[in-house]
Symmetry: C2
Subunit: 349 residues, 2 copies
């Protein structure tokens, strides 16, 4: 449960692990045994009190997280017992969920984690950003930051499938190596120098004069460095700015925005919620790519079950994860809190 | 003639006024008596040596400027003597111009200055920015900076014709009053406070919660203030950043670009050169508006003819002009340099 709104880096005392009774579902609800939950950067924003693009999580309630689970009791005809569902009531082992907030997953033969990753929010975010916002085409030179992250690792692979040349930035040599494994033509660890210099070197190595697309997951110096080398009619898809999520005072923005005029470039922010009409098209395309082996799932499983989820969240913020950061829960979680019999158990308060 | 590349604010010694013989046109050329020339902010960039979006003006040659003149001698069948033409060889009273670089103006019953203003670069820039980039629609709340300038004063009027609510920023009380005369619902002098506060007050006065469109002619604090109050799916058309043209070191950019993500907003730079296909549509629409009296030409005529053109350019950069800044030349110029008989006269060097 969220107990306090974090200032700067979140602390363990901002949340509390509690035992509660999870009873039978009321009419129109189902009970779900959660199998795996997601931890994502945007959660940091929703823990804060300032309204950003989503409602803050209320104090004194369990937080939300995209979660895949199996329905164990149902009081709604549309979501039967045994169904594999995606819902938002994570950060707990068992959840009572309105049936209207459950989505029975398509392609339920794929591993549960795929529904949080490639077929979930980060996968669809990558796809919308690449296809609808940046509109990556054959021959484009594409720069992707946070390229070993859940979104970035998918963008790298989509861009290669689309016939682009891909330059990747990541936060360690291991992550840069992963980006190369996923198909990036060049990948660097941004700790190895100024991003501007690393990017110029990378462009020289691929024989390109500039960028047609920058897929921005971090903001800050990456964004300024990218703007410095955009080609005419470049597209910058603003997906995230993890570099500033923990900043307590505003950081100055790029000093070279005038290049957006000289290069007639477009910079556009986007959120998945505006593109839900594309879900069917996206799922069909992505599931095909996964089954073909054309796109590889990349994820990090944090151990400890629900008791370990907070550390998993902090680890994800600190960049220790590659690909989608997930926490197996319940019978899938190594350190299950209370085990299956916590269901219907008396609260120890 | 350009003699030196300006550092910071341009100086009189950066240019030199010289007398030269203008002879008969070679084959494929015409001789034009210039009637009126334009001074524009982008010229500052082309005087500098750094490649921006246009070639620098060469040192030791006359600079270029959009100019309207009457053909006085022709060695090309396509451009006859007597034609009113638009060309780039301004900063001089008579010019030899390749016929291929002359455009015979449509709507030549309108005053010559209109072909440099509403029907010229600034008018078409305003129209492209409003119609193709910002896509202003009925009901939009539109913020325009430099609203008494050549582009801004036209955007204000187009936005009102499209049914938008218009908030205008200008550089003096007189200019703000002009913007209100042109139809702006609210107009402020940005010297009267912080732009952020002035803009918030303006929004409150028109009963709006935020901006759907910001048409940016200045960059800097105006851009940051506008981003602070954008609505979902806002469009920011980047047209110019006059606030930084004279800066010798880069100024920090807006610190709140992350709002482009939260608000799913688009920020896009543009240059007229990519939209020349629209000229016919634009001219027909704008000429109709002018003849209907729906859009009013706004311009400042600087005196002194070609000898006064440099001071006119500096005055325009300093913001002393309202609307399109022009310099009448030759028989139209008050202080004609050498008069008509400078044609074919020996150079006094």
């Amino acid at each position: 449960m969220l107990r306090a709104r974090p200032k700067g880096r979140p602390k363990a005392t901002d949340v509390e692990l509690v035992d509660v009774v999870v009873g039978a579902p009321d009419a129109g609800h189902v009970r779900v045994e959660n199998l795996v939950m997601s931890v994502e950067p945007y959660m940091r924003g929703r823990m804060g009190g300032e309204a950003t693009y989503a409602e803050p999580y209320p104090i004194g309630e369990p937080m939300l997280a995209p979660t895949v689970g199996r329905v164990t009791a149902s009081a709604d005809d549309t979501v039967p017992v045994g169904a594999l569902v995606l819902h938002e009531r994570g950060w707990r082992e068992h959840a009572l969920v309105p049936a209207s907030e459950c989505r029975i997953v398509a392609h339920d033969d794929l591993p549960p984690v795929v529904h949080l990753g490639l077929l979930g929010i980060p996968g669809m975010t990558a796809w919308i950003g690449a296809e609808r916002i940046a509109r990556i085409e054959t021959g484009d030179v594409v720069f992707v930051s946070s390229a070993a992250g859940a979104v970035g690792s998918t963008v790298v692979q989509i861009a290669k499938l689309r016939g682009a040349t891909v330059i990747a930035s990541a936060g360690s040599r291991e992550k840069a190596a992963l980006a190369r494994d996923l198909g990036a033509d060049i990948a660097f660890d941004y700790h190895d120098g100024r991003v501007t210099d690393l990017l110029r070197d990378a462009l020289a190595q691929v024989g390109a004069s500039g960028l047609d697309v920058y897929f921005d997951n971090v903001g800050g110096d990456h964004l300024e460095a990218a703007i410095r080398v955009i080609n005419d009619h470049a597209r910058i898809a603003l997906c995230g700015m993890i570099s500033i999520y923990n900043a307590e005072t505003p950081l100055p923005g790029p000093s070279n925005l005038i290049k957006l005029i000289w290069r007639r470039a477009r910079m556009e922010g986007f959120l998945l919620r505006d593109h839900l009409d594309a879900r069917g098209e996206f799922e069909a395309q992505m599931a095909t790519w996964i089954r073909m082996g054309a796109i590889r799932p990349v994820h990090t499983e944090f151990a400890g079950g629900v008791a370990g989820a907070w550390d998993a969240f902090l680890g994800m913020l600190d960049g220790t994860a590659t690909g989608k950061a997930v926490v197996p829960l319940g019978t899938l979680g190594a350190g299950t809190h209370g085990g299956n019999d916590s269901l219907d158990k008396e609260a120890n308060r």
